[in-house]
């Protein structure tokens, strides 16, 4: 059996050791606090927690059946994190050293994360493995992150420690690998915990599953505090009677910043469901919202789609979603139909479509960039498809019957932030013109850790962040029309084309720069990954073996299927500098396979 359940129970004995350890007696932290609410405005994470610890709210963890498994009030979190920080001092690490933590949805992860900050260390969350047969590739991905971050210590709970130990074997920087239980056995060193400073790095956020070139976004305390303030004050207008529910993984920016840190800096309670449990039984999330009267809950559009697909009429009768005032939607392109279908399905359960809160953001800008207006629902505009393609210009549809595209209004930038749209030469474009989306403001990252090459690609002069997304502005509001070809989004997961090409290039039959990966969409918006390989093999068996192997590798690394096309050498189009052009490779593939309706305006080329 999995040790998860037993371990999730472990902190209970610490938190409630004056009670018999009966699950029945466990009660979630309340919604209403005894403490006056302070909406962000702290200088660091630890000072925010010091304040929150004076109240009675906190984090609650539920199992797959919806039973409360463990409760972590902010007061106990502070206490446990400070003791763990003193144990961490025993390693004698320099301030700012990196600590890797495999981020299961558990109290231990949150305790360790804050313990690192109390000890002046820089934590980062690593993903949990989710795909069949992914053992070897998952270990490689972990190793990539350990090496890229030059982490000094690494932690994982019992379920994942074996993977971590394997990954750490060849990572020279690592001094110690272990479980939270093992760390708890170390002596607490009696030292005064020093305060943190706004200019210090708060944490790293990894954004890619690459084994060779992982990218760890460096977020300072200042950037984090600035983004959180914008989210809770301007985006969500958090109030004392708010409560959150979340299934988002703690190793994603939206899960960590949006649904762990934002609730804490406003001292509101959160109810968590593990991502795996949501993915298997999505209705559990809605039941939590309904049962605990949650008001703020975020999801990718894909999560809403899962709920819509899986719900039965009998489920609707027992749900009351009237409490849900902020249904934040982000992290991938928002298609209005997905939201409409959800609203239609759940209207009878009291869901108010005005709760939809489309927003736009990315880890490189901590989390959020723009928010639409709270309480107003999802607004979209219809633009003429032909003008969009021919002139790269969004013109509102004048006459019926013309082919049109509908785009969701993602709202305005947070205070102190600016969004501009530029063309390929970096020249600013006027409203309604489609181009690259650039962001400026205090939430923007310092760069990718130890990776000046990728940093220079993303951060333009004047510290403008090139988001890699394409869109336009209309009356000051941002509309995203697509991603550039370097990111493929399948079932809500962002996959970098480069990471797939890299897997292919690791095969002996594939030379470097002879693989190109991109996504193609079918009519209902489903994305399929295509991997085109220039191939010299002539034997049918060898070609089939390469194709199968590549499909398996992509599956094991990213959990998605892909189409592999083997083409003769010199088929893939290259730019004048000899670089492969994914945009042109995709157009070529579409022509060869006669896919209709795929020639779109959404990509402007490769970054």
């Amino acid at each position: 059996m999995s040790s998860t359940i037993t371990k999730l129970n472990a902190p209970l004995t610490q938190a409630f050791d004056f009670q018999p350890s009966s699950e029945l007696q466990l009660t979630p932290t309340p919604t209403l606090n005894t403490l006056t609410q302070q909406l962000a405005g702290f200088d660091t994470l630890t000072s925010a927690l010091e304040y929150a610890a004076n109240g009675i709210t906190g984090y609650n963890f539920y199992d797959a059946k919806g039973n409360l498994r463990s409760v972590l009030p902010y007061s106990i979190l502070r206490q446990n994190a400070r003791i763990l920080a003193q144990r961490l001092f025993g390693f004698g690490l320099l301030r700012g050293s990196r600590v890797a933590i495999i981020a299961d949805t558990s109290p231990e992860f949150v305790e360790l994360f804050f313990a690192c900050r109390y000890a002046g260390l820089v934590p980062f969350a690593m993903p949990i493995p989710v795909n069949l047969g992914s053992h070897a590739i998952y270990v490689q991905q972990l190793r990539g992150m350990l090496e890229s971050s030059q982490a000094s210590i690494a932690l994982a709970n019992m379920d994942y420690i074996n993977f971590l130990e394997e990954a750490a074997e060849e990572a020279t920087c690592i001094q110690w690998v272990g479980t939270p239980e093992k760390l708890s056995g170390f002596p607490a060193i009696n030292v005064e915990l020093e305060p943190n400073y706004p200019d210090e790095t708060a944490y790293l956020q990894f954004t890619s599953g690459s084994t060779r070139t992982p990218r760890g976004v460096v977020i300072t305390e200042r950037a984090l505090m600035c983004n959180l303030q914008g989210i809770v004050c301007n985006g969500l207008e958090i109030k004392p009677d708010d409560r959150s529910a979340s299934w988002l993984p703690f190793y994603h920016d939206m899960g960590l910043v949006g649904l762990v840190l934002a609730p804490m800096v406003t001292q509101i309670s959160v109810d968590y469901l593990a991502t795996r449990d949501f993915a298997i039984r999505p209705l559990q999330w809605l039941r939590l919202i309904s049962r605990n009267r949650c008001t703020v809950a975020f999801s990718q559009p894909f999560g809403l789609k899962l709920c819509t697909l899986r719900v039965r009429e009998s489920d609707l009768k027992e749900l009351d979603l009237g409490c849900w005032r902020a249904a934040g939607i982000g992290a991938e392109m928002i298609r209005p139909e997905t939201l409409r279908n959800f609203a239609e399905k759940f209207a009878s359960a009291g869901f108010d479509e005005n709760a939809f809160l489309p927003c736009y953001g990315l880890a490189e800008s901590t989390l959020a960039v723009t928010f639409s207006k709270i309480g107003k629902g999802c607004k979209s505009i219809q633009v003429d498809s032909k003008t969009l393609i021919d002139k790269r210009m969004a013109v509102r549809l004048q006459a019926e019957g013309r082919k049109q595209n509908e785009f969701v209004n993602c709202g305005r930038p947070l205070p102190g932030h600016t969004v501009k749209i530029v063309d390929e030469d970096g020249q600013q474009l006027s409203e309604m013109m489609v181009g690259s989306v650039l962001v400026h403001g205090d939430s923007v990252m310092k760069g990718y850790y130890n990776n000046p090459e990728e940093t220079n690609k993303a951060l333009k002069s004047g510290n403008w962040l090139d988001t890699g997304d394409i869109g336009f502005l209309f009356e000051g509001d941002l509309f995203i029309t697509g991603r550039r070809t370097d990111v493929i989004i399948v079932n809500g997961r962002n996959i970098r084309a480069q990471d797939i090409e890299e897997l292919a290039e690791q095969q002996p039959e594939v030379r470097s720069r002879e693989a190109s990966a991109f996504g193609v969409n079918d009519e209902d918006g489903t994305t399929t990954i295509v991997l085109v390989i220039e191939c010299r093999l002539t034997s049918v068996t060898e070609r089939q073996s390469l194709t199968t192997r590549l499909q398996q590798l992509v599956y094991m690394a990213f959990g998605v299927n892909c189409v592999v096309e083997l083409v003769p050498p010199h088929t893939l189009p290259r730019t004048s500098s000899g670089k492969l052009s994914r945009f042109a490779a995709r157009q070529g593939y579409i022509q060869r396979t006669n896919l209709a309706g795929q020639m779109t305006f959404v990509e402007s080329g490769d970054r």
Binding site: A64, I128, P129, D159, A279, N491, N561
Partner: protein, 84 residues
Amino acid sequence: MTESNYDEIMQLLCDRLSSLTNSDTQITPETNMISQLSIDSIKLLNLIMEIEDTFDVSIPINALTDIHTVRELADLVHKIKSAS
């Protein structure tokens, strides 16, 4: 836990995989779910849900990383069921 339980697990897996993937491939214990059935993450989660509901077990996500074939999955479910 008896042999018949194991057979029952294997039978359910083969039946469910066959309808989930709509493929003509004859599903046997040796069928590789990744390369032969190209079962994606959504189908996988559906399958896990059905296994969990039918056999009243909880499949730990970390155990799936070493599963390739139908037999390996059946062994895992059987092991968990026997331990519970």
